[in-house]
Symmetry: C2
Amino acid sequence: MTKSKCQIMEATYTALCRHGYADLSIEKIAEEFEKGKSLIYYHYSDKQELMVSFLDYLLEKMQEETGKFEDLEPDEKLDKMLEEGLAIDDPEMKEFRKAMMEMQAQTPHNPEFAEKFQQINDLLQKRFEKVLKENNVEKPEIKTEIMISTIEGLANRSISQENTKDLEKMKEEIKRYCLN
Amino acid sequence: MTKSKCQIMEATYTALCRHGYADLSIEKIAEEFEKGKSLIYYHYSDKQELMVSFLDYLLEKMQEETGKFEDLEPDEKLDKMLEEGLAIDDPEMKEFRKAMMEMQAQTPHNPEFAEKFQQINDLLQKRFEKVLKENNVEKPEIKTEIMISTIEGLANRSISQENTKDLEKMKEEIKRYCLN
């Protein structure tokens, strides 16, 4: 990815956190990007093309991060991954995940989004399954599916509901479930 | 709820399954309703007002259904409730849940939707917690939160992804988790 495309992606991230997905426009992304709107239009013809590229950029980032917990013990590794999955206390992260929830809700009508979310999911699934196998759990495939679903459900519910959940307690419970 | 309002709600359900939420319009709802558009506008000024009323209607339906498994044994009751929560094999139900996922993704920007989803959630939460207590599980509050999150995550993932999940196996796993 070229430097200017990378800067557009960073601006997209900031604009998504600020405005959410539905209200996002190339104009609003350009407000976060000093080189201006014309350079964005030079690279992308519309919001859809830009957002598909943004999902690709996220996927690339996630791939770059593969192995970042490699030096930890298996159970610490699981701990860190659960912590990341439930990291919605940070206000910026919360706004970002709201926008991701909106984008994911588009998948039934947006095949390009569906493909990207599928790839992101496949990566997460592989990564969690590997860690569960390192922890010698039984039925790692089923537990992976349950764990990712639980994290996704908890995150979405924490985002869309007023009552804050005790995510630290939830993390311990998911870990206990996984390792037993 | 008057009879004609009730018919409008039924038409809304059908139209939601057919078109999803984003593409829904009062015109499209009127196509499912023989008494026509003017009667809808007589009751509701716009799509937002109608959809808030629809969420209320769902909530009412759910309240009416309280106790429908009352005669079953505690573990059978849990079984039935999990079955209902994961009932997305049926094509109509799948379309309906896609639309609900879309509507839920609006909650951060739509306080009226947020309030209704909160009420629906509170009802579900109370109902699941009651059944877990009847099954004498430890930490019923935490398990309820994990269980509802898992069901929601699984349903959303099954809807937005190509690879079909073995939901029967998942149901057994969630049940095992709850009762242990």
